[in-house]
């Protein structure tokens, strides 16, 4: 069912190929009786990328582009519709819950909303010790306690704060608790889904710095999901730009930010507000098309300033262009 070569590159910790995710919209009884076809939201439409060991790879895009859905499918919170997810040499896309168990230990997640991501009825120490005790990372309560205090210290808490509940902390502090929880299983790979977008600017910098320090200390690789281009640029080695469930451009972060090739990447960079721009570019017109009725051609065609006839009829494939890949018929020009 999978015709890719068996030789998997040990350089890559995660290889995602042709990942597809879609959701059927619930139909009411009346719609069913009327025989209306089921509407399907095409959230992720064949996404491929790889994360090297020790690397930060980012997926960037606007809301509804499928970046979070991709992340949640990779960690198997959602079942992939098709495609493969090779993690540390194993295709986990069809793993059962019990097969996933050893993988879960190595793959953790940091969430977007610091208020919803911690159980309000659990003490901080229990939030951090639960994964350790479950996976047998600590041999007993004493060792778990010791590890928990060490993790709390690393993310900047005093030991006596371990007995408190989440509501006694600020957003930035909660996010650091979430990071400590993610680290509690000694993971090699962390999916960070918009980890700083809910935080104040000055706190954002603290959390980003902490995440980067931890990468060195724990030899972590990150899949970073974000909409804020400046944040992405700051932390990322390689980046994939997503639009309507497709990756439209992918490659080295500095190269793409310095010289975007896909018209959408260009527009995205031009639209991001900056502190030091003299003249603002003409903003992009129009809205993102509906993911229920994908356009037959290029997903970006209806808003693209360089659109030609070919773009509305034929979907462009990802092609290699000077060390990066771009899905545009005319990206060379």
């Amino acid at each position: 069912m999978d015709n890719r070569p068996e030789s998997r590159d040990p350089e890559f910790l995660l290889e995602v190929s042709d990942l597809v995710q879609s959701f059927a919209q619930p139909r009411g009884i009346l719609d069913r009786l009327a025989g209306k076809p089921q509407k399907v939201v095409h959230a992720v439409n064949g996404v491929s990328f790889a994360v090297r060991r020790g690397e930060v790879f980012s997926l960037v895009g606007e809301s509804g582009c499928g970046k979070s859905t991709t992340a949640r499918t990779i960690v198997r919170l959602l079942e992939p519709k098709s495609g493969s997810i090779v993690f540390d040499g194993e295709d986990i896309s069809k793993f059962s819950a019990s097969e996933m168990m050893p993988v879960r230990k190595k793959m953790q997640m940091i969430f977007q909303d610091p208020y919803a991501s911690l159980n309000p009825r659990q003490r901080i120490k229990d939030i951090i010790m639960e994964p350790m005790l479950f996976h047998g990372i600590a041999s007993g309560k004493d060792e778990a306690h010791e590890k928990m205090f060490r993790l709390l210290d690393i993310v900047g808490f005093r030991p006596e704060q371990a007995d408190r509940y989440p509501h006694q902390f600020s957003g930035g502090q909660r996010q650091r608790i979430g990071i400590a929880r993610a680290l509690s299983t000694n993971p090699a790979f962390i999916v960070a889904d918009e980890p700083v977008s809910a935080l104040d600017v000055s706190i954002q910098a603290q959390v980003l710095n902490l995440m980067m320090d931890l990468r060195d200390e724990f030899t972590l690789s990150y899949l970073f999901i974000a909409h804020d281009l400046s944040v992405v640029r700051h932390v990322t080695e390689r980046v994939g730009i997503m639009y309507l469930g497709f990756i439209v451009e992918q490659g080295d972060c500095d190269a793409i930010f310095g010289n975007p090739m896909h018209p959408y990447t260009k527009a995205l960079l031009a639209a991001a507000p900056t502190l030091d721009r003299i003249v603002a570019a003409e903003p992009l017109k129009g809205d993102v098309p509906s993911p229920i009725m994908l356009p037959p051609g290029c997903p970006f065609a209806n808003r693209c300033p360089q659109r030609r006839d070919l773009c509305t009829t034929t979907r462009p494939q990802l092609r290699e262009h000077s060390g990066r890949i771009v899905a545009c018929h005319f990206s060379g020009n």
């Binding site: 953790q108 997640m109 009825r121 639960e130 479950f134 929880r181």
Partner: protein, 294 residues
């Protein structure tokens, strides 16, 4: 423990509570009933259902303050010489017991099904919620009446019947809360640890859906006591050997027009007072726990 109590007395909840006349009166009424019921046998002049302690000579005694009142029978006696105050204390005990038992059972059963339906969704959810919908489309009284008529009187049967009527309330509320909670990221985090559904439901979801139940349960105790009283009044509730307040009203009603008004009116007043107190308390809790009013 002392530290916790201290924190409680300084909390906003306690602060609002002592400033709410309704809540304090509600609590006083409920505490009054609890004390009366728990210590009842120790101070009531007689055990009204111990036939040996009854004396027909005492029958038809009016309340103490009326012409012919007897200090031994403060609220008077019925036609068998039974002390009305003692009967009310024992009756309240049965009423309260039924109220609390039904609420506890309904709460456990309803929460169980609400958790299952809300967390797993899909077909289980559809089936359970249709059952709830159908049941809620019949008047609770009618369902209970039907069950009691079919199975006959009895304390246990009454509790079962009222639980069958009551659990849907909890199931629906819990399911609603679970639908909100299960989409929160802390549940995702629990799934990513590798926890299976059961521990996630018990350890993570359940503690976060309990708060609204406190309000529902409090008010439900009042509703159950009223329903029970009605059923007993209609003669399909508790057996005559274990009369609740409702049955006392009914027994008194039979002789109401022969001048013994007190044996019907006083139990009625006590039902009203008890339910009123419970509802005052429930209203306060609802205001406190409803985030939309804050």
């Amino acid at each position: 423990m002392g530290k916790k109590m201290n924190a409680f007395f300084r909390s906003e909840f306690f602060h609002n509570f002592v400033r709410s006349a309704g809540a304090v009166s509600g609590l006083l009424i409920v505490v009054f009933f609890l004390v009366m019921v728990l210590l009842g046998p120790a101070w009531t002049p007689q055990n009204p259902y111990d036939i040996a302690s009854l004396d027909l000579m005492d029958a038809y005694k009016p309340p103490l303050w009326m012409e012919g009142g007897d200090p031994a029978f403060v609220l008077g006696t019925d036609e068998q010489g039974r002390d009305l105050l003692s009967a009310i204390v024992y009756g309240s005990r049965i009423s309260l017991f039924i109220g609390v038992a039904v609420v506890l059972l309904s709460c456990v059963i309803g929460t169980f099904f609400g958790l299952i339906a809300g967390y797993f969704g899909g077909r289980i959810d559809s089936i359970l919620m249709r059952v709830v919908d159908i049941q809620l489309s019949f008047p609770a009284m009618l369902v209970a009446l039907f069950i009691m008529a079919a199975f006959g009187r009895g304390l246990g049967k009454l509790i079962v019947a009222l639980t069958i009527v009551g659990w849907v309330l909890y199931a629906r509320t819990v399911r609603g809360s679970v639908l909100v909670e299960r989409n929160k990221e802390y549940v995702d985090a629990a799934k990513l640890i590798g926890l299976s559904p059961f521990p996630i439901i018990v350890r993570h979801v359940l503690p976060n859906v309990l708060t609204p139940l406190i309000v529902i349960a409090t008010i439900h105790v009042g509703t159950v006591i009223l329903t029970e009283a009605t059923l007993s009044y209609l003669g399909v509730g508790v057996p005559v050997t274990e009369p609740s307040l409702g049955l006392l009203v009914k027994n008194g009603y039979d002789v109401l027009f022969s001048g013994l008004w007190w044996s019907s009116v006083f139990p009625g007043v006590f039902i009203m007072l008890l339910v009123f107190g419970i509802n005052l308390l429930g209203d306060f809790l609802r205001d406190e726990f409803n985030p939309r009013l804050k």
